[in-house]
Amino acid sequence: MKLINRDTKVVVQGVTGTQGRFHAARMKEYGTTVVAGVTPGRGGQDVDGTPVYDTVVEAKEKHGLDASIVFVPAFGALDAALEAIEAGMNPVVVITEGIPVRDTIELVARAKQLDTTVIGPNTPGLIKAGESKMGIMPNQVFKRGSVGIISRSGTLFYEIAAHVTNQGLGESTCVGLGGDPVVGLDYIELLKWFENDVETRAVALIGEIGGDAEEKAADFIASGGFTKPLAAYIAGRAAIPGKRMGHAGAIIQGAAGTADSKMNALRGAGAAIGEQPIDVAKALKKALV
């Protein structure tokens, strides 16, 4: 698995669109090394000082790129992400919302074949606090510190990051997994990474109803795969079965995927469980100070 730091050279796919352009600028403000943009047919243009190319390979030849962030609309996102993977970009962060699940399945399979880390789709992206971000999270919420964050949602992730910052802990690396049923990265791969990351002393896990990824993460922790302090918050206790709560992946099917099932599993694995978002930051402070 590959994440980012201040030296990661980033290409923005879909840089000429409204979202791509806006967030390319915010990323540069944060310190991300954004060196090029790609929009097929717009090669030779310039967006706020970032040169635009027709293809990722061309941009890579000129600038020696490492990683890509994709803002391309849903109908073209699979192609854009495959192009990035085949051009050797790693990680590939897919911000786009509304990608058909069939496309994501193919994207993730190709990434696995070429040993590429895919983050998303439908993710706020990832950030190494104080160094670099590939994502759409608000810059001011994060401060360099020792807490790693893994989240399935966007704004709830910022909410909890703000509490972590306010408690004086700050963040190391934070990753949004994405709100779709199928996504590239799972909790377990990240927990393994955080276990070995010297800058991370504790982890906040932000989950939500649907699927069984949180239960699997709990099994992994219980088996000794992750040993640092961990606090979790699971959204969706008030949700009712069979109704999709906004995210395509957030649905309770029968008795599976409930918030209680996830909280019990994580509690059983020794995690502190927050009743409300702020409790996560308080629990981590207690564990670390």
Binding site: F22, A74, F75, E97, G98, I99, P100, V101, R102, I105, E106, V108, A109, R110, Q113, I136, M137, P138, V141, S151, R152, S153, G154, T155, L156, F157, Y158, E159, A162, G179, P181, V182, I206, E208, I209, G211, D212, A213, K216, Y233, A235, G236, R237, A238, A239, I240, K243, R244, M245, G246, H247, A248, G249, A250, G254, A259, E275, Q276, P277, I278
Partner: protein, 380 residues
Amino acid sequence: MKLLEYEAKEVFKRYGIPLGMSAIAKTPGEAKDAAAIIGRPVVVKAQVGVGGRGKAGGIKPADTPVQAREAAKQILGMKIKDLTVRKVLVEERLRIQHEIYLGVIVDRAAKCYTILASGEGGMNIEEVAVRNPEKIVRHNVDPLMGFRSYHANEVAKRLGYSGKKMQQLSDILLSLYRVAYEMDAELTEINPLIETAEGFVAADARLNVDNNALYRHKELEAKYIESFEGELTPREMEARAMDLTYVELDGDIGIIGNGAGLTMSTLDTVMLYGGRARNFLDLGGGANPDRIGKAVEFVLKDNRVKALFVNVLGGITRCDDTAKGIIEARKKLGDNKPIVVRMMGTNEEEGKRLLHGAGIETNDTMEEAAQKVVHLAKEV
């Protein structure tokens, strides 16, 4: 998007999946004519987008065209889980030797399509899955290789078939996977697939298409809103038509947030402090004042809402836009229901200034705001 049985069968037919003779009928007279053309005993089946129609009396056998007319008379217009039956499928009745289950699902954890098959199909397949999972054959499809005939043969073998029957079943499996893949299905199902002396026939059909993929299936778009009947409440249907992500619940506190996780968390926090949410409404990313106003108006107009809680964490969504939307909606409705707002992030100061100017208070944390709105809803 859930297709009705007959719609799914129209798709299955295009892919060569064997089906019984059938025709759709909107009146008892049409049902009688259909049974006469089929010329054999039939079943008359309600076409509604919810499960449990058999138990509700929505499936009736008929030996003659006159009986088919009478059955249709009883079924058409009946209510199944609040849905009025408007169409029936008149279908040749099959002599059942054996019932098989076949399905193609999206496996979230394995990140692929998965073929499911069982020799114990029929009404109790969910029970089989729980009690005797070993009786369900699973095959994960490698996305880069696809589902090939030797894979299908293997699945059919594991169900205990060989020779010609194995090949027949294998062909159906391959067709079913093609339906799932080409139709962008979240769920494709034949339950039961009936084994007769001659071969196999799909007696029922389910096909749920991924809403995100509808742009690839223009023929379905016209039926999109209609297909949510039964799945969504009337208020949810109205919200869907306005392009709002809204879920109806049974409390009395209206809730609007931005982002699915934060909005869910807002509901949970209100519940934690003893309140009950009336709804979930996620504005999504980057909503403008107009869209926010529309959402606020939609929730405030709900008679069961006693107080409204708007929780916005500004990123792409701006706090000043949120404030403008709230103020505009309130002015338009001339409404005095209490509103609690918590906002943080992009243009927070300006948003608060606007709200305070309009006499609406704000809170700095979600926890505080939740306690306040629960208190206010109890006072009303």
